[in-house]
């Protein structure tokens, strides 16, 4: 009996091997048949692998080490970084809260706003379309003109906002917009909103432009009564990919809010009011040179973004189908 069972097992294994071999051959065959695909993919993928994928793969394990960029190789310390982050680091816990506040304002709000603007602009005359697209995209093109916002929010009466408010008689003295713990967060949120519209907005504009105009004519015949119906039944369903792209861009920009806060409110900001997770990573990575810890922080942020992305693509996917 035992021998028979053994024989059967061997036979089974051989069968599995065979199918695996077959699979392998099939894959190889498919690869040969589609060789042109690989040729066309290669130019981009070579650079993509070298400068994006390999650095990311190299960076992932750094989170589990104690690495100060001077001592090679990095010392493996397991989950100590993550333990320290969630249990001992009060500033990190605070930064989660700040990041979430930023994410709520600059994520969904900015997403909805850029969609609304792209839609409204699409209804206008072609020349006006170009003009308004330019106006709303201009902040992204302006690059680092945070110095202007510093002029606007300046704490003395040279600041545009202070000057305007005192001329109108609303305030009497100069308000310390960027150093007062009560005002700094709203101010930075406004600037972040101003900056973050760019990529998603432009992609959505392109999406609107790509929609087949005859769909609307067909819609009118099918009994669509107003623009809201047009939006829900025709426009949004045919813009799935652009909506997804804008969502991903918005997730990235809202979770990685950092540079605006740092250049406006200084570093570190009053009471850590605009200290986000990314700022914390910057602090440990480039100020204290604790790359291991900084990397662990980035890893946690990455997981959060991944979960968020999965969630949104599920919601959008359900809506599209």
């Amino acid at each position: 009996m035992a021998e028979q069972i053994q024989k059967k097992e061997i036979l089974l294994r051989e069968e599995q091997k065979h199918t695996f071999k077959e699979n392998f051959h099939y894959t190889l065959h498919e690869m040969k048949r589609n060789s042109m695909c690989y040729v066309m993919l290669a130019p981009f993928m070579i650079f993509f692998l070298l400068f994006t994928v390999i650095p990311v793969i190299m960076a992932l394990p750094i989170g589990f080490t104690d690495f100060d960029m001077a001592h090679f190789p990095p010392k493996f310390i397991g989950f100590d970084n993550f333990y320290a982050m969630f249990i001992e680091d009060d500033v990190f816990i605070g930064s989660i809260r700040t990041t979430l506040i930023f994410a709520i304002f600059t994520g969904p709000l900015s997403y909805a706003l850029s969609f609304l603007l792209a839609w409204l602009i699409n209804e206008l005359h072609p020349v006006l379309k170009t003009v308004f697209t330019l106006i709303f995209y201009a902040p992204s093109m302006a690059g680092n003109i945070y110095f202007v916002w510093q002029l606007i929010f300046s704490g003395d009466s040279y600041g545009y906002l202070n000057a305007a408010l005192s001329t109108l008689g609303i305030t009497t003295g100069a308000v310390q917009w960027l150093t007062d713990a009560n005002y700094v967060l709203p101010c930075v949120i406004v600037v972040q909103l101003w900056v973050s519209m760019g990529a998603g907005f432009l992609a959505l504009r392109a999406g609107f432009q790509g929609i087949d105009k005859s769909m609307y004519e067909a819609g009118a015949i099918e009994g669509i009564k107003n623009r809201t119906q047009e939006l829900i039944f025709i426009t949004i369903p045919s813009m799935g990919p652009q909506l997804m792209f804008a969502a991903v861009m918005q997730i990235v920009s809202s979770f990685t809010v950092d540079i605006v806060g740092r250049s406006l409110a200084g570093f570190p900001s009053t009471d850590y009011k605009v200290h986000t997770i990314m700022t914390h990573a910057f602090d440990y990575g480039w100020v204290r040179y604790e790359m291991g810890y900084a990397s662990a922080i980035c890893f946690v942020l990455f997981i959060a973004m991944l979960v968020c992305n999965k969630l949104i693509s599920k919601i959008l996917g359900k809506y599209m189908n």
């Binding site: 990311v56 005859s214 997730i251």
Partner: protein, 324 residues
Amino acid sequence: MAKKKDLKPSEIAAQLEAENAAALEALRKRREKEHRKMEKSKGTNKRVGKSWKNDIGIFLLLTFLGLFMIAPIYIAIVTSIKPVQEIFIMPPRLYAMDPTGDNFKDLFVVANNSWVPFSRNVFNSIFVTVTATVLHVVFACMASFILAKCRFPGVKLINKIVVIALLFNSTVTYIMQYIVMANLGMINTYSALILPLIASSMGLYLMIQSVGQIPDAMIEAAKVDGAGLMRICWGIVMPNSKPAIMTIIIFQFQAAWNSTGGNLVYDEALKTIPTVVQQIAAAGIARQGAIAASAVVLMVPPLAIFIAAQSNVMETMAHAGMKD
């Protein structure tokens, strides 16, 4: 109504006929109504709910929001043409009383007095930006067509990696990038400035998303006609993805134009305009006028590309004559 099995065959037939007649009548009525509607809307506008009143409302709303978006840029421009004594006036004014080009002149004088002639930096910037943009757009177009429309082993995995790479934003990756480049001997060369820009996954992702919208039937038809993948890509898919291509040209040009090279380049002769401007602006508040002027100067090329690209995006009748 009586149950069907209780009725005689002839009765069932009569009932069915009556039902059919009613349905036909309803359909005819609906068609007539639609026809009348069409007649009414003919000559004015085919789209529903479009009126000039609506348009003016939208225009006013957009103007209001647009003012908020454009105000800081306006202030930057005004600051750049203010003479020094006006910059520190109190309260600050929203216009220049005595506009001058001194700030711009200062900027170029300082830039020309540095170690290498400014023309060299201008050449570097243009060379890097144009090469990086052209190569990125060409490569991303080909790759996006393959990733969105072809089925072969590994395609799903690559698509996933592209999205994940988009989300992975780590301060640590820069060091790893440096290590990779050092091993390839690229530090302090033009390659260090250009090559990482080509691999931006944002443009590729946008292209994949847009190419995915093109009907498969279109590509199948071309295949049946004997067109190769290259031919399909450049002859059929890309002309139909024009808005997306223009968008990635804008993104990429801007990213390349503003790239400084960071620690990857230390030779003065290889530095681009933004790096030089940063060095000039590092003087702080004393050069506020020059900082504003440099911001304005740096804004011009992306603006030109943006306007050129946008006016090139025709109201494309994408996928016209080909419906899924």
